[in-house]
Amino acid sequence: MDFKQKTVLITGASAGIGRATAILLAELGAKVILNGRNQAALDETKALMAQHGHIVSPFDMENIDGLPKWVLDLRKQHGNIDGFVHCAGIQTTKSIRIFDQAFFDQTMHTNLASALAIARGFRQKRDKTKQGAIVLVASIAGLIGQTGNIVYGASKAGLMSAARGLSMELLRDNIRVNCVAPALVETDMAQKTRDSMNDAQFQHILDQHPMGIGQPEDVANAIAFLLSDRARWINAVCLPVEGGYLAN
C-alpha cells in the first residue's frame, strides 16, 4: 500500500486506533492531518510518526455546524484531502435506567453527526479526478446487543447505515465509503470500560473474544487497506475486525 502524495484527515488521533492509524499511514507515506480535542496528545502522536509534514488541527466534534467549514479551511491551507478516517468517539457504559437527552446528544453528536458533517466538507470543492476514500470506525456494538451499551451501539449502527447511504450519494464525487467494526481493542477507552466493572464482568467480555482482545494496530491495518487504492472497488462494506468475536 502506497500513500505517497496523499493527505488523510484522521479524527480521534490523540490515542488508540486513531493514533495507530496515523502512525501507520505516515509509515506508508501519507501526510496526515491529526484531529482531536487535546493538543498535547496530538503533538505526542505527531512525534511518533514518520515525518511528512503532518498537521495538528484540534477541533471539537460536538461543534457539528462548524465542522464542514473547518474541513474546507484545511483544504484551502493544505491542498486536496484524499482520505478521511473517523476514529473520534466516546463510550460510556450506562443502563437505560439513567438514560437522558444530554447523554444521547453527546454520544450521537460525537460519534455519528460529526462524521456526516465532516463528509459534507470533505466532498465539497475536491478534485473529483482523484478517488477519495472515507473509513468510519464503527463497532461490533452496532451489530449485536450489549447490556449497558445501548446508545453507543445505536451510534455505531448509525455509522454503518450512514456509510451505506454516503457511499451511494458520493458516487458522483468519486468517493468510496466503508466501515470497520472492531471488537474490544486495548485502548484508553477499553481501560475505562474495564475500570467500571468487577473482575467477573470483565472476564465475561474477555471470554467472548476467541483470539483475545485486539491491538490498535490490528484495526489500523484494516483501515489503511480500505483507505488505499488497493481497495478501489470496495465500497459500502463494513469489515468486522474482531478476532472471531461474531463467530463465537
Binding site: 460510556t92 457504559t93 450506562k94 443502563s95 435506567r97 439513567i98 449497558g148 475505562k192 466493572m197 468487577n198
Partner: protein
C-alpha cells in the same frame, strides 16, 4: 450534589420511591440492586463528580452508607 440528592439519585437508579434510602440498608438485601444498578452507580458518579469508582471497590461495599462513603468527599455540602 449533596448527600440527600445523592440518596435520591440512588433511589431513582433502583426505582424506589424518592426518600426510601437512608443509609443503613444492606445493598444485597435490596431486590433492585443488580448488575445494571452497579453499572448505573458508576456512571452516575462519573457524571456528577467526575470520578471513577472502580468496579472492584464497589463490589466490596455492603451498605448504602458505604456507597455514600465512596463519593462523600465530592459532595457540595
Amino acid at each position: 450534589m449533596n448527600r440527600t440528592e445523592f440518596l435520591i439519585a440512588i433511589d431513582d437508579i433502583l426505582e424506589l420511591d424518592e426518600g426510601t434510602l437512608k443509609g443503613p440498608e444492606i445493598l444485597a438485601d435490596l431486590d433492585e440492586w443488580d448488575s445494571l444498578a452497579f453499572l448505573s452507580v458508576i456512571a452516575m458518579a462519573d457524571d456528577e463528580f467526575d470520578i471513577v469508582i472502580e468496579g472492584e471497590r464497589l463490589e466490596k461495599i455492603q451498605t448504602v452508607e458505604d456507597l455514600v462513603g465512596l463519593v462523600s468527599a465530592n459532595f457540595s455540602d
